[in-house]
């Protein structure tokens, strides 16, 4: 049974302009979501996959992504980073200093044409290279949808595995920041989740972003990697300095609980954490799960959790209808039908403009 749940508190926090200015000392950002709190740190992870005793730096998400790209370009001479404006560092600074270090042949601007960026990337990847294509905003990925859906996703399958473009990774900032409007705020992950043959990966934090991006780049399948732009500067945590990967298609239980399973990804998890804290005062124990990879998703982990709690709530920024939450809800209903007492998606989504 699906019940409506509204939370205006969440909406107001989304629209408050808390980023871009630093009230904190040293220019280090901690998100001020209603109350001052640190962002999820590596040590807060319930099931941390990072080994103990790592050398870490306190950095934000774009720096973590930048580190991942440095690592890839350093370790694999046949890797390339390209897209609009990546040369000078990119509009979100994710590609800072790459061109200076690795040269204009490996880190280069492309003309303004998303379909050609991805098409070019497919060709480069099919020749055994790591092609890391940047789409400037996820809102502009649609011209490349044909290349992603009809070409990249099917390259291996349609050729009978004679060819593949597994070396392709398409990175794009996604999600609302408050002032982005229609065309700098979209969460288009659902379009891509409908496409077998690609993987869709969304990190929630800097340390997750670095590990998941390294894993995505090295995965032998084309990956669409959405980076929550809201967290580029806002999210700061201890990120291991070395080269590490986090597993794809492996969801993570961020906090254990017994009364309800909450599933989300990307920036929305920060909101959901808040919600968990609030309801814990009412004695409700939430199990919070970060899906991390949307396709192929870790259905078993979510099923185990729902079998334990009997309740599922999925929350995402993207529009509700046809959103990926619907897939999770349908899938869990199918597999856990007798166990589920309630199944919910919040009936709000990020406003189209704010």
């Amino acid at each position: 049974m699906v019940r409506r749940r509204f939370s205006f508190g969440l909406v107001s926090r989304l629209s408050s302009p808390i980023y871009g200015r630093s009230p904190c000392s040293g220019g280090i950002w901690t998100p001020c979501l209603g109350q001052k709190r640190s962002f999820m740190t590596a040590k807060d992870l319930v099931e941390s996959e990072e080994p103990e005793k790592k050398v870490t730096n306190r950095i934000n998400m774009f720096s973590a992504i930048n580190q991942a790209l440095h690592t890839v370009l350093d370790s694999d001479p046949k890797s390339y980073v390209f897209g609009e404006d990546v040369g000078f560092g990119g509009v979100f600074r994710c590609t800072t200093a790459l061109r200076d270090k690795f040269g204009r042949h490996r880190v280069f601007n492309t003309p303004l044409c998303e379909q050609a960026i991805v098409g070019f990337g497919i060709g480069l990847a099919s020749m055994g290279n790591r092609a890391i294509a940047e789409i400037q905003f996820a809102d502009y990925i649609f011209p490349a949808l044909d290349q992603i859906v009809n070409e990249a996703a099917k390259y291996r399958y349609r050729s009978g595995n004679l060819f593949n473009c597994g070396g392709l990774t398409v990175r794009a900032p996604y999600g609302a920041v408050g002032h982005g409007g229609h065309y700098h705020s979209q969460s288009p992950e659902a379009f891509f989740c409908h496409v077998p043959g690609i993987k869709v990966v969304i990190p929630r934090s800097p340390s997750q972003a670095k590990g998941l991006l390294l894993a995505s780049i090295r995965d032998p399948n084309p990956v669409v990697f959405f980076e929550p732009k809201w967290l580029y500067r806002l999210a700061v945590e201890e990120v291991p300095v070395d080269d590490y990967t986090l597993p794809l298609s492996s969801a993570e239980v961020m906090r254990k609980g017994s009364d309800i399973t909450l599933v989300g990804w990307g920036a929305q998890l920060a909101i959901m954490e808040e919600a968990c804290d609030e309801v814990s005062k009412l004695g409700i124990s939430c199990e919070l799960i970060d899906l991390r990879t949307l396709i192929p998703w870790d259905k078993e982990l979510v099923e185990d959790s729902v079998n334990k709690t009997g309740r599922l709530l999925v929350s995402h920024e993207a529009p509700v209808t046809g959103g990926f939450g619907a897939e999770i809800a349908a899938s869990i209903t199918n597999s856990c039908f007798l166990r589920v007492q309630s199944l919910t998606q919040p009936q709000i989504s990020t406003p189209a403009f704010s």
């Binding site: 046949k78 390339y80 204009r104 042949h105 490996r106 280069f108 492309t110 003309p111 044409c113 379909q115 050609a116 960026i117 991805v118 098409g119 070019f120 990337g121 497919i122 060709g123 480069l124 990847a125 099919s126 020749m127 055994g128 290279n129 092609a131 011209p143 044909d146 290349q147 009809n150 070409e151 099917k154 291996r156 399958y157 349609r158 050729s159 009978g160 595995n161 004679l162 060819f163 593949n164 597994g166 077998p196 043959g197 993987k199 032998p220 399948n221 298609s249 192929p296 998703w297 259905k299 078993e300």
Partner: protein, 467 residues
């Protein structure tokens, strides 16, 4: 042709209509693009405005305008240009269309003073044999589809010269990104008739594992990525692959084939622009065969064909008679040399005619005249034209022709029979290769499918193995 004496170096740049190419990060210095000379004409020519005489002139000529050009210039980041103090629109197309290079006339005779490529007897005969085999394969495979033996087919009739001559001019290690009307390239490189037939029948021996419609061939060993149906999507792939060759410093190029219809696609624009900007060794070979299914070229673009678009992207381009085997060979050979040695893209527009229907799903009699099709099939057949030249050289005769056609026919029939009698791909291949390893959700789906098959065996096709 008049070339005015410029007063200053900048004025010279203006009158040639072209500028020194700004230095590019990839290459320390590049020569200027050779100026294109148009026939001299009055500066307004036929394009004068009808509203007020000579108020706004347009001109395709770059001569005789020095008196209008000011001896000043400014370097905008987008263009370093001189100024002009009159309103002059560049004409929508040049006075004359770009001429078409040919070596042989329609009867297979060498044209006087034509540039003749180096083609010896073995090469010429091999090209001809491939063209005939392609023709025979197309004829019989088309028939096989009509008989219901497989679901779909499309022929390369009329474009045999483009297919074979291009392939012959390339290196076997050059990657070829085809549209779908270029099986001759595969044939040249050694794809067997059985391999073609296996793919069409989607049988157990198909390299594509039975997943695609017929004619969607691919071969890793022959450097021919598997064809996909969407039009023009292969163009940017070819550019990316060419970039890989350039970075790996291989003396190779990529070639991509497409029809004139594909030149309307966004992927064409993106690929051409990327290729020029990134300076990669790729050949864009456009088969301008006059039709995109039923849409004639006159409804596809208003430009002077596809060759005119090269200039717009800063790319060297050429127009060639696609039905002239020797001209095609010479052009692709020359283009390849430039592409590889100078790391630049080249656009080749090969004019031809699509003799056959678009595919077995098309009846082109509905939109074009039977006479026209018949004319091109008989009087303008590239295979016959090349044969005439071979015979003129004393390298071919009627006996050889009969033997070749008869052998080809027997081999094609044998390939069809062999491929048609084989089992289809096994069920398991429905789920493999979606990813490099099969994910859990697909394992689950396969289980469910097999369970359904088990319960409804009578509804399951008998030639699809269950393993």
């Amino acid at each position: 042709m008049m070339v005015p004496k410029p007063a200053s170096s900048w004025a010279r740049l203006i009158t040639t209509g072209l500028l020194r190419r700004p230095s590019h990060p990839f290459h320390a210095s590049r020569s200027t693009i050779a100026p294109v000379r148009f026939p001299s004409s009055p500066s307004c020519g036929p394009f004068a405005s009808v509203l007020r005489e000579r108020q706004f002139c347009s001109s395709s000529s770059s001569g005789d305008e020095s008196e209008d050009h000011l001896d000043e210039f400014l370097d905008f980041p987008g263009a370093k240009v001189g100024f002009i103090n009159k309103i002059k629109f560049t004409a929508e197309r040049p006075q004359e269309p770009v001429p078409c290079f040919r070596v042989l006339d329609d009867h297979g005779r060498l044209i006087k003073d034509a540039y003749m490529p180096e083609v010896d007897k073995p090469l010429a005969i091999r090209m001809y044999q491939n063209m005939v085999t392609l023709q025979v394969m197309d004829t019989l495979f088309f028939e096989a589809q009509r008989q219901g033996r497989f679901s779909f087919y499309l022929t390369t009739f009329g474009e045999e010269a483009i297919n074979i001559a291009s392939a012959a001019a390339l290196n076997n290690d050059d990657m070829v990104y085809a549209q779908y009307r270029e099986p001759g390239v595969l044939m040249w490189r050694g794809f067997t008739l059985k391999e073609f037939a296996n793919q069409c029948f989607s049988n157990v021996a198909d390299y594509g594992k039975g997943r695609q419609m017929p004619v969607h061939y691919g071969s890793a060993k022959l450097n021919y990525p598997t064809v996909s149906s969407p039009i023009g999507t292969q163009l940017p792939h070819a550019v990316g692959a060419a970039y890989a060759f350039k970075m790996d410093q291989k003396p190779l190029c990529t070639t991509t084939f497409f029809g004139e219809g594909a030149s309307s696609e966004g992927d064409f624009h993106g690929a051409m622009n990327f290729a020029a900007v990134l300076e990669v060794p790729v050949l864009f070979i456009c088969r301008n065969n006059g039709f995109a299914i039923s849409t004639p070229a006159s409804e596809q673009f208003k430009s002077d064909g596809v060759v005119a678009k090269g200039h717009a992207y800063g790319m060297r381009s050429i127009r060639v008679d696609g039905n002239d085997t020797l001209a095609m060979y010479a052009t692709v050979k020359a283009a390849r040399k430039m592409a590889v040695e100078e790391s630049r893209p080249i656009l080749i527009e090969a004019l031809t005619y699509r003799v056959g229907h678009h595919s077995t799903s098309d009846d082109s009699g509905k939109y074009r005249k039977g006479d026209e099709m018949q004319h091109w099939k008989t009087m303008r057949d590239p295979v016959l034209r090349f044969r005439r030249w071979l015979e003129g050289e004393g390298w071919w005769d009627t006996d050889a022709e009969q033997k070749l056609r008869s052998d080809a026919r027997n081999e094609v029939i044998s390939a069809l029979q062999s491929a048609g009698s084989q089992m289809k791909q096994p069920l398991t291949n429905l789920f493999t290769d979606v990813y490099d390893t099969i994910p859990r959700n697909l394992i689950q789906q396969e289980k469910e499918l097999r369970s359904t098959v088990g319960r409804h065996h009578e509804d399951y096709p008998s030639d699809v193995p269950l393993y």
